[in-house]
């Protein structure tokens, strides 16, 4: 059962067709959640007692940061699968995930910096959380650079996957940074192991945004993977037939 599932999702023709069917639905739900969460967070949620309205940046900053990290897990896992089972689609997933992760990390850093100005009085501080997120950004850029650094795309795939896996050491550091070094960045507002530290009226739009960002991430990953499939399988029969039928 698992084997069959694994083989199906690993097959480019099947993946290409399946993702084409899924994408419109995923996109509509993602757009609906993000639009709802944004309007709710910006206009309807109450302001924070200490930070005032600047805290509204949380509705963009936290979802982007979550997905920047979740995307890294996914990229490293895809790299593992690619290296162990030599699955082409897994390597393409590494290539697809890297620019999305870099952009989300960039959003997390920029929104954090803008939030820092009115809250801490500074745009930037070499705080542990901020520095480890900056390292995450460079890891994503490194994976992108390695993937395209070789003439032979197999070498690029392997090198990028190895860097993705090695970079996993940074992930627990990011999570624990606010506990290990109690410097500037505030502690987590959401934890799996305990009740959230923010009130429901502020929490619901945040949860909606996080759900929306997970779906948006799926949409972006599928879009990029479909491009990788087109670019790598351009000479294969199934793709030519598929595109031929579509006109």
């Amino acid at each position: 059962m698992f084997r069959q599932w694994f083989h199906r999702w690993g097959s480019p023709p099947w993946f290409y067709r399946m993702s084409g069917t899924l994408l419109p639905w995923l996109s509509v739900v993602a757009a609906g959640l993000i639009a709802t969460g944004t309007v709710w967070g910006l206009a309807f949620a109450p302001e924070d007692a200490r930070q005032g309205n600047s805290f509204r940046i949380i509705y963009l900053h936290v979802p982007a940061s979550f997905l920047a990290l979740a995307g890294y897990y996914l990229m490293a896992l895809a790299g593992c699968i690619g290296l162990v089972w030599r699955m082409k689609l897994a390597f393409w997933a590494v290539r697809a995930a890297a620019p999305i992760g870099a952009a989300l990390t960039f959003i997390a850093l920029v929104t954090g910096s803008i939030w820092g100005k009115p809250t801490w009085g500074t745009w930037w501080e070499w705080d542990a959380r901020i520095t480890s997120m900056l390292i995450l950004f460079f890891l994503y850029l490194g994976v992108m650079a390695l993937a395209s650094a070789y003439q032979n795309s197999d070498s690029g795939n392997r090198a990028a996957s190895i860097l993705a896996i090695v970079g996993m050491v940074n992930i627990p550091i990011i999570y624990k940074s606010v506990d290990w070094w109690n410097t500037l960045h505030q502690g987590a507002s959401l934890k799996l192991t305990s009740a959230p530290t923010i009130h429901g009226s502020m929490l619901y739009p945040l949860l909606i945004m996080i759900a929306g960002f997970y779906l948006l991430y799926a949409v972006l990953l599928l879009l990029n993977l479909r491009c990788e499939i087109l670019s790598n399988e351009r000479h294969s029969r199934w793709l030519q037939d598929f595109l031929g039928d579509k006109r």
Binding site: A43, F44, N53, H61, V110, T111, P118, L220, L223, L230
Partner: protein
Amino acid sequence: MYFASFADLIAMNGHGIYVWSAYAIGYAVLAALIIQPLARHAALSRQIRQQQDED
């Protein structure tokens, strides 16, 4: 709405500039993330079809 007026929503008690610029930059990046693969997909399918026609 939490704010008394639309002008209050824009001003956000002085924090408007921070909040709105953060959202503007963030959503501009997200828009680019969506447009880039769509454009690449369209260009690649066009190339592949052209190649087919030449064959």
